[in-house]
């Protein structure tokens, strides 16, 4: 049914004389959604993927594309407004114009959440509706994004109803809105895909897997039908439940809009003789496309030049192959893939963690005054830490740290002249904590840490006294407040309370605090 529809639209498209066309795009990705939301992991990557596809395959000139990440509502509106003039100029030149607006980010209660700013969906819809382009396409990938089409009525259907359009005698004109989920559904991200489900399948479709007609062009109808089917199918078993993309279709004229043209590009060609679900991974082993095909039809996936890995689940193993995409088509046949055990999954370990590196400086202070006397004097510490978030689930993060420190102190014993000492300390540990977003930029963290501590001291003025040292493990609790002041950098302050069991001069239970300030860089 879908294939027939697509062929019909394609035939109508072919009947039209070729007209000059110019396309404009505004692509917005925003991981932050303000108070009460957790940062999205892949919203900005999704935006970059769509931007890349539209510029490479979608006929959008680089200068006509606006890619915004971490922008405010006003900045989005300004970027949209900035496209009005060139669109009007293109129309004045007699060119057909298409405006594509893509958004990936948070949304709730009918509003897109761009950091701490809000953009009502109705406002965006009205702006699109009133934009000067002949065809306006809105692609909204966010929770409850179906609200944007609610006013016009929504159908959770896999294909457009374009019967009226087919009867018309003019090229398509009007507004199409596609939302990743209905008005009461969450839009889900997938660590395995390193993307939101909807955008991943939309992107896969645009790269060629949605080309049901096999004409080397992916139309809006094909892309939607593909993204709808794959999104619903792949989210059916998730904890949040099935996610249903929806659309609003208000196109006059006839035919469909071709979103991507695959023909002149380097492609991976999946032959008709094979079937199954193929995942295409880029150099960083992240999924860039999927191909789900039945035997009998071939698929072309248009990719940028580069090296790719293709994997396919095959029973209790995997078929894996490496391919280089250049100008010529590269066939990906099953007999060119090598069978591997599931443990060799090239995606294994790729998805999930977000790593960051911290540099910190601070001090250490034992609560017991006797312990501070020479044994564990107040010390300055400088440390290097790694942190991994979204790796363990349950909003837990973990990290490893190593600190060096030391200083000078005076040992005071009853009746003995003060003895000067120098001490050196190495401390390292593993932490487990949970982050709590206080605002868009401030995050509090609470967790636990198990560390080792090694201390050594010498008595520089007393050569007859030998150096001393001590090693033990110290469990503790930690709390941290961080402020993200740029995309990758955050400033942080942290406090720790630790327990230390000391047993040389008798068994003693000691407590000490560590304070540090530092900078975190997110990879």
């Amino acid at each position: 049914m879908k294939t027939g529809f697509a062929l019909c639209v394609a035939a109508m498209m072919a009947a039209f004389p070729a007209l000059a066309e110019r396309r404009f795009a505004l692509i917005v990705g925003d991981a932050k959604g303000g108070v009460g939301t957790r940062p999205l992991r892949y919203a900005e990557r999704d935006a970059r993927r769509i931007h890349s596809i539209l510029v490479r395959l979608g006929g959008v000139r680089p200068e006509d594309a606006r890619l915004l990440t971490g922008a405010s509502a006003d900045e989005v509106l300004a970027a949209l407004a900035s496209l009005k003039a060139p669109i009007a100029a293109a129309k004045a030149n007699g060119e057909e114009t298409v405006l594509i607006v893509y958004y990936s980010g948070h949304a709730k209660d009918g509003e897109l959440r761009l950091g701490d700013t809000l953009l009502p969906m109705t406002e965006l819809r009205d702006l699109l509706k009133d934009a000067p382009a002949d065809v306006r396409i809105g692609l909204i990938d966010s929770c409850q994004s179906g609200a944007i089409v609610r006013a016009k009525g929504v159908r959770t259907a896999p294909a457009f109803d374009v019967q009226k359009a087919q009867a018309a005698a003019t090229r398509p004109r009007g507004l199409v809105l596609i939302a990743s989920s209905s008005a009461d559904e969450e839009s889900q991200e997938s660590d395995e895909l390193s993307a939101s489900f909807f955008t991943h399948y939309l992107a896969s479709g645009l790269l060629g897997d949605a080309d049901a007609s096999g004409d080397g062009k992916v139309t809006l109808a094909e892309a939607y039908a593909y993204a709808y089917a794959r999104t619903v199918g792949e989210t059916a078993e998730t904890r949040a439940g099935a996610q249903h993309p929806v659309y609003l279709y208000d196109l006059g004229g006839a035919g469909d809009v071709v979103l991507t043209d695959l023909s002149p590009r380097g492609v991976l060609l999946f032959p008709a003789s094979d079937e199954g679900v193929y995942v295409v991974l880029d150099n960083s082993r992240r999924a860039v496309a999927e191909v789900a095909k039945a035997r009998g039809g071939s698929r072309r996936i248009a990719l940028a030049r580069g090296d790719y890995t293709v994997k396919k689940r095959d029973g209790d193993g995997l078929l894996i192959g490496s391919f280089t995409v250049d100008e010529q088509p590269v066939e990906v046949a099953d007999n060119r893939l090598v069978r591997r055990p599931l443990s060799d999954d090239p995606q294994k370990g790729v998805t999930g963690p977000r790593y960051s590196l911290r540099l910190s400086g601070g001090g250490q202070f034992f609560f017991d005054s006797a312990a501070r006397n020479g044994l564990f004097p107040p010390a300055a510490l400088a440390g290097l830490e790694t942190a991994a978030r979204d790796d363990l689930g349950h909003s837990l993060a973990w990290g490893l740290d190593l600190s060096l420190g030391g200083g000078s102190a005076t040992l005071r014993l009853p009746g003995v002249a003060p003895i000067d000492e120098r001490f050196f300390e190495v401390s390292g540990g593993a932490s487990l904590w949970r982050d709590f977003d206080l605002t868009d930029t401030f995050t509090a963290s609470v967790g636990a840490r198990v560390a080792f501590i090694y201390l050594a001291r010498s008595f520089p003025d007393r050569s007859e006294l030998q150096n001393q040292n001590f090693f033990t493990f110290t469990p503790g609790l930690q709390a941290m407040l961080s402020w993200q002041f740029s995309n990758r950098f955050s400033a942080l302050v942290r406090g720790r309370l630790n327990y230390l069991f000391y047993n040389v001069d008798g068994a003693q239970n000691l407590g000490y605090a560590e304070f540090a300030a530092g900078v975190e860089y997110a990879f």
Binding site: Q468, F470, P475, N503, V504, D505
Partner: protein, 304 residues
């Protein structure tokens, strides 16, 4: 159960020798340098061209002092062994080092034990220690026993008994060591610091009997007195005072029974050359047996 296991894990992993108390114990053991007799080196550099001859008594006193220092060091250097490693056993008021091999005497084992007493404020006031040696397969014998009063040996009062008779028994004594105990009393808390050696039970360090007291001042000058019992029934009591530069004066008092007594005086310069002799019995070589013997200038004697 789990918390016990965690505690055990943490306890097992707590290791090292970081200890203030260990430092306190070591501070109570005197260093051998602190108990050495400091006689100026001028005694060894006397010129052969001395007009009145060299200060022979002073020179012999220097040699005796060096022998004593060597003997004391021989036993107290065992302390250096324990300074090099942490105690084997720790208790609230005691420490034990060893047994471990005595590097200076192959096959021997050394063990050091210290016990302290603290007052009501927790301040240590008395320390008792012993250094024991054991021959291969044999029992430990205490070769050094000491008691120290105070908290820091370099500024306190104490006594040490060097059991040379036991080191002889063990076969680790030097040839010049006495064969009987030598007792050392010291007070290092004042200026002058004083060290007394009681070696009166028999011959040792090349002298037949020896009772020695030493006072050393911070500026380097000092004095020592000793009595030597001769084989002829006479006892010579010598009091020597010296400057930091090495000049000094002696007083000799010879007693031979209840009726015979004589005194002599000598002074010498920083080169250990005699500058004045007042020797009624002409025992000094420069007198050539002429009695009474009065040579040199009394004004040359240092004002000590």
């Amino acid at each position: 159960m789990r918390s016990s296991a965690l505690f055990l894990f943490v306890a097992l992993c707590a290791c090292g020798n970081l200890s203030n108390e260990d430092v306190a114990f070591l501070e109570a053991i005197p260093q051998k340098e602190a108990l050495q007799v400091q006689v100026p080196n001028s005694a060894l550099t006397a010129q052969p061209s001395c007009a009145l001859g060299p200060a022979a008594f002073f020179q012999s006193a220097k040699q005796t002092g060096d022998d004593i220092n060597q003997g004391v060091s021989g036993l107290l250097e065992l302390v250096d062994t324990i300074r090099a490693q942490p105690p084997t056993a720790r208790d609230t008021d005691s420490r034990t080092w060893g047994p471990f091999p005595d590097q200076s005497h192959p096959g021997f084992q050394t063990q050091v034990q210290m016990v302290r007493q603290v007052d009501a404020t927790g301040t240590p006031w008395r320390w008792d220690y012993s250094i024991s040696e054991a021959p291969p397969g044999g029992a430990f014998l205490a070769v050094v026993e000491g008691t120290f009063f105070g908290a820091q040996a370099k500024s306190g009062t104490g006594r040490i008994t060097l059991h040379f008779e036991r080191s002889v028994q063990l076969g680790i004594a030097k040839a010049t060591d006495p064969k009987f105990p030598m007792r050392i009393f010291y007070d290092l808390g004042d200026d002058p610091r004083t060290i007394s050696l009681d070696l009166t039970e028999g011959e040792g360090f090349g002298v037949p009997s020896f009772d020695y007291s030493y006072e050393g001042f911070l500026d380097g000058h000092g004095q020592f007195a000793f009595a030597v019992a001769g084989g002829n029934g006479c006892t010579t009591e010598v009091t020597t005072q010296f400057t930091a530069a090495g000049a000094g004066k002696d007083s000799f008092h010879v007693r031979c029974g209840p009726f015979v007594s004589a005194e002599a005086h000598q002074c010498w310069d920083a080169n250990a050359c005699l500058s004045f002799i007042d020797d009624p019995l002409a025992a000094t070589a420069a007198c050539n047996g002429v009695k009474p013997c009065l040579l040199g200038n009394a004004a040359s004697c240092p004002g000590l």
